[in-house]
Symmetry: C2
Subunit: 189 residues, 2 copies
């Protein structure tokens, strides 16, 4: 039998998709992700802020089907490092993804399995094509929530482990009031 077509209401101002699955990541869920571990610990103990929320509409894992999700990535920093999403490769690494920036300011870090990194700034209307094999993480470099929509193959899956362990070879920080993309001091190739 055929699956029934479905429509969803996306509130572009808030990023919320009605009747979707909500996931919340607090700073305590991101132990080991930020370079300044002291600053991380302090902020977790003080307020443990929500770093991002995801609203996802997902199908069974099947070739040729599609999932989509919005992310609301809140503004903030851990030490000098801007808030970011965990970032992942796809479990099927050759699956691509498309991102559409809706609100706020930020960017995407991308990285090959060998650690070659790219930084792409995003503002409302930016569409990013994430090619097969590139890990990807979004970063909020602004002062308001950074909201974007992602569309990905239903069988892409997520490999968070590699990034959780190794991180990205670049980090995105604020220094002297400027956004800077610098080498990750903890990176080991």
């Amino acid at each position: 039998m055929y699956k029934e077509p479905a429509s969803f209401k996306l509130d572009i101002e808030s990023g919320v998709i009605e009747d979707s699955k909500r996931l919340v990541r607090r700073l305590s869920d991101m132990k080991g992700y930020f370079v300044d571990e002291e600053a991380w610990k302090e902020l977790v103990e003080k307020e443990n802020p929500v770093v991002y929320e995801v609203y996802a509409v997902e199908q069974e894992e099947r070739e040729g089907d599609l999932n989509f999700a919005t992310t609301i990535l809140y503004p903030g920093k851990v030490g000098k490092e801007f808030f970011f999403t965990k970032g992942h490769f796809h479990a099927k690494p050759d699956r691509a993804e498309v991102y559409v920036a809706l609100k706020g300011r930020g960017g995407m870090l991308l990285q090959t399995p060998e650690g070659e990194a790219r930084w792409i700034p995003m503002e409302p209307g930016t569409i990013i094509y994430v090619p097969p094999y590139w890990a990807h993480r979004t970063v909020n470099t602004g002062r308001e929530p950074f909201i974007f929509l992602a569309i990905y193959p239903a069988d892409a899956g997520h490999d968070y482990g590699t990034i959780a362990k190794k991180g990205f070879s670049k980090i995105v920080i604020e220094e002297d009031g400027e956004v800077k993309v610098i080498n990750n001091p903890r990176w080991k190739a």
Copy 2:
């Protein structure tokens, strides 16, 4: 080697994606699509308007990769029937698609291979999940351009022939100032 990540600038007001491939469909390209053939002929001879434009970013045809495109569907009618896109099944019929309405008002006709149809209204913020196997056509029921973004598997392909020959079992018309979805008088199951 890895494909390079890429970003594209979508102007949400106009629907144009910079550095994408533009395709234009005029009314003369849609012979046989509208029920009122006299009205079609007259309008083609008078001004042959652009019915829609597409701005597409496409990859090679490969499983797990993704394409995306905006469509600017202009307001207008042929007789009572609102302007629409040709509509298609996917050449790989089990490929899904995701539509995001950005501007204007309209809707989507969907249809199974057996001719079972659905109508889903669209306004800015509506996201439609087009499941595997459903043909789909968008319709502008408003007075301004209807603009939306579609994301689809790079290996989905297009089967326009079935719809070109048989059409949809429903048509969308204006009658007494109202939008009506009625049975297609020319439909043969």
